[in-house]
Amino acid sequence: MNKVITKALITSAVSAAVIAGSVQAASITAVSWGGAYTKSQVEAYHKPWAAATGNTIVSEDYSGGLAEVKAQVEAGNVTWNLVDVELSDAVRGCDEGLFESIDASILPDGADGSSAADDFLPGTVTDCAVGNIVWSTIVAYDGSKMSGVATMADFFDTAKFPGKRGLRKGPKPNLEMALMADGVPAKYVYALLNTDAGIQMAFDKLDTIRDSVIWWEAGAQPPQLLADGEVAMTTAYNGRIFNAVAAEGKPFEIMWDGQVWDLDLWVIPKGAPNMAETLDFIKFSTGTQALADQASWISYGPVRKSSAALVGSYHNQPDLDMAGHMPTAPENFGNALQNDFEFWADNQDQLNERFNAWLAK
């Protein structure tokens, strides 16, 4: 009798464990840039996906670059399932074997019926990465303190618009903006930067405002500099400025002329666990509706054409229409330059050294 009871207990315990194991939900870690951007992803992608599939998704912050991914992949101990990277990092990491390849055929069609290949903007899906947003570096100023800022040349004109300028500490994208301020049309900027004379021209233009520049490093600094009155105009990431305007009511204005835009993409570090769930999340978060939803939290443009029709208003302000605040909106896209990742992959280290040497003089 005792033996029967013992056997029954053991069997039920084992089967309970098996059942519990089989319905155990997977947990994946998605890594992104923090602040308002991560919040938009959590609201538009993480929460709906977790609710729909029952899996858990954890959000971590990082400050860009491939160092952590490289360290994890080299050590063979990958804890990050998904990373949101810039296009230059996506291409570089793929070339150097840091990412898993993603088969583009798994991506769903757009909500308007177009195939994924047609729906995604060109260049936003690569061998190892699937794009999610378009973001841009723009010039921002305090609308209540000045007006009439129309072109990139105005940013470099301290006589007409006195006051300090904020620039990101580094050659990118200051060199492009300097050339555009000198009157170089966007399509010739990188051709010019591929020559020594062009680079010297860019540095000479930067020299003209050098004494009035406050150099910033973190994306959160430019809105703070504007709010403190420390600078009259500054370059910034457009989503951060929009966030200051919409969520904190600041009177900032964006000048879209000479914007330098770039993509962010999802990548999977090589050797990451839970591939099936991670790919499922990528399919969900780069779908038409999810991309349109993130646009209601922050003013970054979706990479799917079908999402444009679904972009509505800011999540808690129905009369704030998001469409006009996207980098890709037609009225903002007049003189826009796409960041050339190939040029920067080749020349970033050297130009960075030159920039630091120039700054130190």
């Binding site: 670059g65 793929c94 074997g97 390849s101 150099w215 080749d346």
Partner: protein, 419 residues
């Protein structure tokens, strides 16, 4: 001549032998007790740093990605371009490497490595590897037709140099030197001279910060040591309070206080010392860096000084004064030498910490806020040139060791007292 008779115990063994045996047991016990610490230091300190230092000379990329070529290119004498057979091996190796997606063995790794030597060559390698399968014999001709950048002998010289597993190239780059077209070592272009001047700037700035910390900390520590216990405890809490706040919060607070529209400038304008247009720029320059870093590092100077000063008996100063010395003379000749251990400890601590700081200078230093640790962090985090970062780190390590040796000569390590 006196002879010492050996003492023999009752059981026949000499006292000397017994003593030796007893101390051996003691020594072994002591060794076993410290073994965990030694192992911990080895695993968490010596090994990782050793690995990083190894990275600064280890250069296996070319021989990992295109191994047959690495062997074949050694036969080339370095004049004009390599022979057709070397080109053939190169193309065949590229085709094989293109299929490899293992980290460290991809064409991308090779492209990045050569790009450090010859900027702009990264896209050359990646685009050629994509088309390498279609190339046919004669390979030299077809490769040069594909892209005339392959006719650059400097590129092939660089490939030949980097086919060796050990290289001084990263240390050369860290010292602002480079290889020219013929493979000789020359000074880098004036436009790119950054590292050596930055080292010197970092050391100078750290020395200034240490000096200011000494000047400020000495009176504070002295007051703390002579006050009665209750008041000194209260003041000690004030000294320790910054430790309990986050570093970034303290740095941001300084930005709010020192900026041109900030608290200090507003007060000075209000009191009439400055006009509204003549506000002083105290942040985003070297002044801001010095102020913020002195604030953060001051407790590290105060605490060792305080603990040493507390142990100095007041009778020494009283004795000196009673023998007719002036107060300043007694301070200089009696009190100061007694505090040297604490001063030495504090100086060492503050200086070494100051050399390694990069977050604070990056946030408040503006144009001037680029120190050597920023550059090392850039290479580790952004450019992923870990070898160059390791080389810079190794030079920094050697610098600090040299300064430490100097300090030992002047003050003596045995004179160190942290409290």
């Amino acid at each position: 001549m006196s002879t010492t008779k050996e003492l023999i115990e009752q059981d026949g063994i000499s006292l000397k032998d017994k003593l030796a045996k007893a101390t051996k047991v003691q020594k072994r016990r002591a060794l076993l007790l410290t073994m965990p610490l030694v192992i911990f230091l080895l695993v968490s300190f010596v090994m990782p740093i050793g690995q990083m230092l190894w990275r600064s000379v280890h250069n296996p990329t070319v021989s990992n990605v295109i191994p047959n070529f690495a062997i074949a290119i050694q036969q080339w004498d370095g004049n004009a371009l390599p022979s057709e057979s070397v080109f053939e091996v190169f193309v065949k190796d590229l085709v094989t490497a293109k299929k490899n997606r293992e980290i460290g063995k991809t064409v991308g790794n090779l492209a990045t490595r050569i790009n450090y030597d010859i900027p702009g060559s990264r896209s050359l390698f990646t685009s050629t590897a994509r088309k390498a399968k279609k190339l046919k014999a004669p390979f030299k001709e077809s490769l040069l037709k594909l892209n005339k950048k392959w006719a650059n002998p400097t590129l092939w010289l660089s490939l030949k140099r980097n086919s060796k597993d050990l290289t001084p190239a990263f240390y050369l780059a860290a010292m602002d030197l480079k290889y020219d077209e013929r493979g000789n070592i020359v000074k880098a272009d004036d436009l790119y001279q950054i590292y050596m001047s930055n080292f010197i700037k970092t050391i100078k700035l750290s020395a200034i910060i240490t000096a200011i910390c000494i000047l400020l900390a000495y009176p504070i520590a002295y007051v703390l040591s002579v006050l009665p216990l209750r008041q000194s405890n209260l003041l000690m809490i004030c000294v320790l309070l910054p430790f309990w706040t986050s570093l970034l919060v303290r740095t941001t607070a300084w930005i709010a206080i020192l900026q041109t529209q900030g608290v200090v400038n507003d007060i000075l304008v209000f009191l009439g010392f400055l006009s509204d247009d003549g506000r002083v720029q105290m942040i985003y320059n070297q002044t801001g860096t010095i102020i913020a870093m002195v604030h953060i590092l001051l407790p590290f100077m105060v605490l060792p000084l305080y603990s040493v000063m507390k142990t100095i008996s007041p009778t020494y100063m009283k004795a000196a004064l009673s023998m007719g010395a002036r107060k300043s003379y007694a301070l200089r000749k009696i009190y100061l030498p007694l505090t040297i251990p604490g001063l030495g400890a504090g100086t060492l601590l503050v200086f070494i910490l100051a050399i390694g700081y990069y977050i604070t200078p990056a946030l408040v230093g503006g144009e001037d806020g680029l120190l050597i640790s920023n550059l090392i962090a850039y290479h580790i985090q952004k450019s992923l040139n870990w070898s160059l970062g390791a080389a810079l780190g190794a030079i920094l390590l050697v610098t600090v060791l040299v300064l430490y040796w100097l300090y030992n000569k002047l003050i003596g390590i045995d004179n160190l007292k942290f409290g």
